[in-house]
């Protein structure tokens, strides 16, 4: 590795930090908090709407198989997903304390997200 590589690492890290700060600021200061979440199929069709403060496990089906949405203490996550890559399970509990990210399961063609106002 040469000096130039270190500069590249430095610039990637600084861009990442600036984006982190920007997103954190936006989500914590400017975005309205919402208590309702929904499961969307194909980006548009609403499969389910739920209150994130009501603990529950919802059993649903997507394109490749079944999946469960677990809701607990104001957060939701995807579990028991019947798909090859399990990326959506890796997204963990959402919304996280600091960051919120919709959970997208591409093989099943579903999105679990906070309802937009």
């Amino acid at each position: 590795m040469k000096k130039k590589d270190i500069y590249v690492i430095g610039s990637i890290l600084s861009v990442a930090i600036i984006l982190f700060a920007g997103i954190w600021l936006y989500q914590n200061k400017f975005q309205k908090k919402t208590e309702m979440a929904q499961v969307l199929y194909s980006g548009t069709v609403v499969m389910l709407e739920f209150d994130i403060n009501e603990d529950a496990i919802y059993h649903l089906r997507g394109d490749v198989g079944h999946f469960d949405v677990e809701v607990k203490d104001g957060q939701f996550r995807m579990i028991n997903v019947d798909c090859p890559n399990h990326n959506c399970e890796g997204m963990g509990w959402q919304p996280d304390d600091n960051f919120y990210m919709p959970i997208i399961c591409i093989p099943n063609n579903v999105v679990v997200q906070l309802k937009e106002e």
Partner: protein
């Protein structure tokens, strides 16, 4: 001798495409459950090797073959997975060519920037298909993860290139 050289090159490009597809499929089968869908991107090693051994043209062929045939074999062709991986591959191909031409960096930097472009391309396609602007939150996480994965794939590509003799291959 001209046509024999062209045939040799054709065979190597085909072999490299086959390797890229195989690596891609093995990685997606065995490296699962990583947080935030982070991947090593080992197939990128082949792209880095191809551009150094041959030229941009061959690298574009190998990358396009990897997406087309890889998705065809997995049965996801023209589905959302296909468009997402195309987005990643197209952006990383463009970035690799530009970075190599304009910035003249080491293979590690090429590899890292390629990984960054791949993730960003995929995220933008996801944001577009699922209309999820909040998905942008994942970009900084993917940027940071591109550093170790980029260094790893760059290092493997470098080691492979040290052991490959272009003159011998084309003789």
């Amino acid at each position: 001798m001209g046509s024999s050289k062209a045939t040799k090159k054709f065979v190597y490009v085909t072999l490299l495409s086959a390797m890229a597809i195989a690596i891609n499929m093995i990685e997606s089968a065995f490296v699962v459950g990583m947080p935030f869908g982070i991947r090593f991107g080992f197939a990128n090693i082949i792209a880095l090797i191809t551009i150094e051994l041959f030229s941009e043209k061959e690298m574009i062929t190998v990358n396009l073959m990897r997406v087309l045939i890889g998705n065809l074999m997995r049965g996801t062709i023209f589905g959302s997975t296909f468009w997402i991986s195309s987005g990643g591959v197209i952006l990383s191909t463009i970035v690799l060519i530009l970075v190599r031409k304009l910035l003249k960096l080491e293979i590690y930097s090429n590899s890292m920037l390629c990984a960054v472009a791949h993730s960003i391309g995929q995220v933008f396609v996801v944001m577009f298909i699922y209309k999820q602007t909040a998905m942008f939150t994942i970009v900084p996480i993917l940027l940071i993860s591109s550093i170790p994965t980029g260094i790893l794939t760059g290092w493997i590509a470098k080691e492979a290139l040290n052991r490959l003799d272009k003159e011998k291959l084309m003789r």
